[in-house]
């Protein structure tokens, strides 16, 4: 008993002591260091080391040649990139699809959450909710297959519906119409992620004080006014955080859906920066040029993040970074 008390005393006093040297602290916390430093080393290798690869954009990189023996060419590849007409086409596609994705992918989950929140039948709510998460867990490969199937000219349900309701005389070749590609990608993304992205808003709504609704009802507020003034006002901070985060990742939209849903007939609408980098960089072996595209992509992403974060700070005195 006495011994235990003494031990307790020393462990608690230790962190406060100023006399211990750096190495004593390391020794005392050796297990904590063992549990995190290997993983830090890991991150340094797999996440930070590729940044050294950015130097490739300023060289005429040749694989297998040592770093010091590479030819340094300055901004040659960037100049070439900015002179390439294809680059502007690809940049347009990236921006259009990311902005459409942002608008749709941000507003619809909120709308969906609001409507679900108004449902009183618990069983109905739970069923709709559970099913709405489902597509999030399925790969883009499968989703691309499903989308292609649903939109196909022979037996696709969308075309069958359009014809049976008289909205179309003959099946529409959705997948070969360039102008449709942006809309198809956006809607496919909405189908896949709407339910999942609404989780965070539903959770925020659960935290809204129910008494506010009672009070509003007494004051004769309609459903729409209650939604507007209580529900949406209540989840405003969450809405803001999600908006800022999505602006930050605006240009880094990835390429999975474009790669999987695209085809040679719509390539002028489907190619995005990452795919462009993939085609030039790896498939054609132009590593330096491909890296320059990647750097451009990252720079724009970081600038957008700073802008978004700046706006957010002004309105909420908080920072997401």
């Amino acid at each position: 008993m006495k011994l235990q008390k003494k031990k307790a005393h020393t462990t608690r006093a230790m962190p406060l002591s100023q006399k211990r040297t750096f190495w004593q602290i390391v020794l005392q916390q050796r297990y904590l260091y063992l549990m995190s430093l290997p993983f830090v080393a890991w991150v340094l290798v797999f996440n930070y080391l590729p940044l050294l690869g950015w130097t490739m954009a300023f060289q005429d990189y040749r694989p297998g040649v040592p770093f010091y023996a590479q030819d340094w060419v300055g901004f040659k590849h960037f100049i070439e990139l900015f002179q390439d007409e294809r680059f502007y086409l690809v940049l347009r596609n990236t921006l259009v699809m990311s902005i459409m994705g942002l608008l749709v992918g941000f507003t619809f989950p909120i709308l969906f959450a609001v409507l679900l929140n108004e449902v009183r039948l618990k069983a109905f709510k739970r069923t709709v909710q559970t099913v709405s998460y489902l597509p999030h867990f399925v790969s883009w490969v499968v989703v691309a297959g499903i989308v292609t199937k649903m939109l196909s000219v022979d037996g696709g349900i969308i075309n069958e519906l359009l014809i049976s309701t008289g909205l179309a005389d003959q099946p529409i070749q959705f997948m070969t119409k360039g102008e449709w590609f942006w809309i198809i990608v956006t809607l496919a993304d909405l189908w896949k992620e709407m339910g999942w992205n609404s989780i965070i808003f539903l959770a925020a709504m659960a935290g809204v004080d129910p008494q506010l609704y009672e009070a509003a009802k007494v004051d004769g507020a309609s459903r729409f006014r209650q939604i507007w003034h209580i529900t949406l006002t209540g989840i405003r901070p969450t809405i803001l955080v999600v908006l800022i985060l999505s602006i930050g990742s605006l240009i880094t939209i990835g390429f999975e859906k474009q790669f999987l849903l695209g085809n040679p007939t719509v390539v002028n609408y489907s190619e995005v920066l990452d795919l462009y980098a993939l085609n030039y960089g790896i498939n054609l072996g132009r590593f330096s040029y491909g890296t320059a595209i990647g750097i451009f992509n990252s720079m724009v992403a970081i600038i957008l993040l700073f802008i978004a974060n700046g706006i957010f700070k002004r309105y909420s005195n908080q920072s997401v970074m």
């Binding site: 916390q29 108004e118 709709v128 965070i200 040679p264 890296t291 970081i302 970074m321």
Partner: protein
Amino acid sequence: MKQKASIQLSKGDRIFNFANYTFLTLVFIATLYPFLNVLAISLNDSTDTVRGGIYIWPREFTLENYRTIFAYDHLLTGFMNSVLRTVIGTVLGVLSSAMVAFTLSRADFHGKKFVSTVLVLTLYFSGGLIPGYMLMRELNLINTFWVYILPGMVNAFNIIIVRSFMDGLPYSLQESAKIDGANDFTIFWRIILPLCTPVLATIALFVAVGQWNAWFDTYLYNSSNPDLTTLQYELMKILQNTTMGASGDPNAFRGVGGEQAAQNVSPESIKMAISMVTIVPILLVYPFLQRFFVQGMTLGAVKS
């Protein structure tokens, strides 16, 4: 929340409710129908499917499509690799997240600032496609199974979620264990880890779904080695081949469905059966984990 109001509904309320239930039912159907359709087609005779008109019920029920695809070598190899990468990747991913998160949740840990800065920065930048590819080449990871596991093993986002959960656990638990003579590792293993089951289940689901659904790493790093193929990659090849028509990879269907291999187009039912094989494992797991991930997402979102 507001259950008392059900007695006197105003006219506006009734219109709102009707519109709301109708709309949500439409969303429900639009989400569920494609899955039912895929299932029905996969269970329908493949020559009969060509006639069209299969909605949510097979017209000529058969399991032949599934038998056909499992006779296809690449698919079985892909299935095994997908299972293997999911299991190994999940165990390692969860363990790494839990360990790092534990050290970050300890206010007295002296390396905390350094570790968290190194990790959080990774959320905002990445080397990009080509430097990443070159690194895998330098590390000799191309054409190995480990390229599926190693690069993404430590994930800052998952660590943040686990850490915010651990912050909610009382520190006195750790103190009393220390008095009993436990070292930090014992505390982590015996006390913290068991208490973190809900959040670890969430992370496990995230990592597992990511691993199971991945195809691009196979495409980029291991496409020349058929022994390292994955299920999603095989499905990708088969589906791409239809969208791209004749310009696709002519080898993609070798072995799928006998006589169709000659025409280079695999029947709809076969494609849908492969899709089902990739969907079903997730469908089996996710209802059980749903309450965890809803909890975990909320927590991660609120704190980060």
